[in-house]
Symmetry: none
Subunit: 225 residues, 4 copies
Amino acid sequence: MGGTPARGNNSRKDDACARRREELLSAAAKVFARSGYPGTEVQEIAAACGLAKGTVYLYFPSKEELFLATVDRAMIRLCHHVRETCAGIDDPLDRLAAAVRSYFAFFQSNPEIAELLIIERAEYRDRKTPTYLEHKRENTKDWQEVYAGLIRDGRFRAVPVERISRVVSDLLYGTMFTNHFSGGQRTPNEQARDVLDILFEGLLTPAERETRASRERATVPAEQT
Amino acid sequence: MGGTPARGNNSRKDDACARRREELLSAAAKVFARSGYPGTEVQEIAAACGLAKGTVYLYFPSKEELFLATVDRAMIRLCHHVRETCAGIDDPLDRLAAAVRSYFAFFQSNPEIAELLIIERAEYRDRKTPTYLEHKRENTKDWQEVYAGLIRDGRFRAVPVERISRVVSDLLYGTMFTNHFSGGQRTPNEQARDVLDILFEGLLTPAERETRASRERATVPAEQT
Amino acid sequence: MGGTPARGNNSRKDDACARRREELLSAAAKVFARSGYPGTEVQEIAAACGLAKGTVYLYFPSKEELFLATVDRAMIRLCHHVRETCAGIDDPLDRLAAAVRSYFAFFQSNPEIAELLIIERAEYRDRKTPTYLEHKRENTKDWQEVYAGLIRDGRFRAVPVERISRVVSDLLYGTMFTNHFSGGQRTPNEQARDVLDILFEGLLTPAERETRASRERATVPAEQT
Amino acid sequence: MGGTPARGNNSRKDDACARRREELLSAAAKVFARSGYPGTEVQEIAAACGLAKGTVYLYFPSKEELFLATVDRAMIRLCHHVRETCAGIDDPLDRLAAAVRSYFAFFQSNPEIAELLIIERAEYRDRKTPTYLEHKRENTKDWQEVYAGLIRDGRFRAVPVERISRVVSDLLYGTMFTNHFSGGQRTPNEQARDVLDILFEGLLTPAERETRASRERATVPAEQT
DNA sequence: CATGAATGAGTCTTCATTCAT
DNA sequence: TATGAATGAAGACTCATTCAT
């Protein structure tokens, strides 16, 4: 019942098949993002590829699977995109900065993907871990190692790496969505600059930091829950 | 056609009517959050209040209006909640910290509201500005004044207040959702601590800050895009 | 279960009650005619009398009964109207002419009643003999006697009275409706003139009548089925 | 959305499609006539053709359109029927007589169509000119020419042709409906005979005509309103 | 492989009627 | 009597999915 036609010997067929899948997923991303999940008819997606409704079912067993594959592909593309950008950059801070810019740039170029993430959660609330989170988990470890290195090198404060990675990724996530909902008016560079400025330097002045530090020393040092 | 019954003198009726609206909105929030918008039958919401389907239509003209009223009420409650928490706190930094904790606490107590925000966006993509953003706009100004005061007092670095307010609210938003999607396992205090630590102190060590600052001074000062 | 309130001693109450029934029927005729049977809400009729929905059910047991009573009242008014017009007219031909004018005049003044007749048939197709026919039957006999008299007096050709009464009433019926559907533009006098001219004098010239009569005489005289 | 499937080249499909439309319209006429417009579920019509509800919507975009198409088809069939009957008849009077018989015969064979006309008016009161009237208008002109010819030939009295055509068509209309409501007991020939007898010869005797004519001559000649 | 006609489950909404006040 | 809040049956229409061609 629906899967992928021509899974066999003939590599020419396999190619054609994979290409069509890609085409369908690409069209699906746009249509789903524009019309929402319930608002999208399989027919529309088929039509966007010049195919008939029934043909879609030769490549995906159901609308649901088609949608989930669409989100999955989108997340894979996001990962690729960020990873490629970082590839040649040696300095970890520069790499982080590049990754941040790259993240925002990806969603600027593919705003429909922000919608897909929303829609996935709205429709598959309890059937599935959000694909975004799944992919995030994969990268978390790598970045935490980067953060640990930076701390070892005395470049980052000795903040728990889990905290760093959490705050960084939550901030990216929130910034991207807020910008998306506001019509995507800010450029990736603007977004990255704001984010990194505060992330790196914090908000407090050295004087205020000192004030707070001394006050803390005076308190019972049991607050570090 | 559909609005609110008993729009008249009788205050006892008016009361009962308002109470029932509340009851319906509260039930609606839970049901919509659990089952999604298309997955929710008006019937379920009615049943949750011990009412018949038709009765709901005496209070709200359509499922759509009911949903939007539900989101609106949720956002109003969020604002109230945060504002009340901050009420008696004089020190602006303490107030900000309290607001942050209060924000996370609200969503911990009302996890269904996070879902409503998602659902609203997923279903009303282009028909409506997200209610969340509408309410955020209202508060932004007040907080920006707070930030300006902190800068004037030499407690915050001279970062543009728009940037501060943007980064803070995006970080809250992202943290809340990520935590929610992960099952809401972290407490409001934990979330607030992580967020505020990095927000206030930044990630860099004093040494690294100095390195970066001097490097910047050396560069062509055209970076201020 | 719904009938008529205050069916008892108190004549003042009875009066008030009858008056209210009248009021309701009159309002109902207008609303039903404007909005059709399924398109009419009992609520509208009540509102038109300044009453609440529930009150209507004190006077009529159901929407259906209310409607049928409305049609019935309309037909009774039609009969009254025509009969009153004819009352003092001695010459049978003049009386017939007056009745015809009066019939058209009634529907000009009460165009909603034409609609009611349609609606009755459309909704109660097989549940009920059309009220119009019922009332017609009552009058048929009287008019047939008139026709018989006219034949006896040598003023009408010796056409079977059933035929006369049938043709006359069908022509009135058809003319009234056609005029009504066309927006009721022709006056009762115009309609009556056209109808009576042809009804009385026929279409053929004396010469043509003779031609046809002689041809008929030549044929086998078995055609009078 | 919803029109006719298979709008393309394939003539076999087109045929099947047209045939199915016909089938649906024919079934619809019967069901609508039996159960009324609101009383008819699209489902019933589908079932009458051995189809599923959804299939009907492939051929007609809505219940309303289906109904209107049903009435339209009925009127077209009426026109065809009458026109075919008249085709080979040269003598205008004979042709008129044939048309009248044919008209009654049509409704005897298709009594459901009388109902459709009622229902259309009852449901589409103000949305639409009755289809019957629309089709009548088309034929009126032709018949008026016939009447003019008869007058020129001295076979019809010099009655205005508009009056003739009005009276004739109103009489047919009224006769048809009255007979239909009475259970359609009279044959087309009986109906035609009664109608034509009086239409052609009128009701008055030659003597009475003379009386009236002389009386008229005596009156002030201002009566010609 | 591709098609698109056919299917029928699923849901919002209306409104006649009831009944507690 | 009068009210109007509450009820819940009823029905049009959509669209994912199937399958004969």
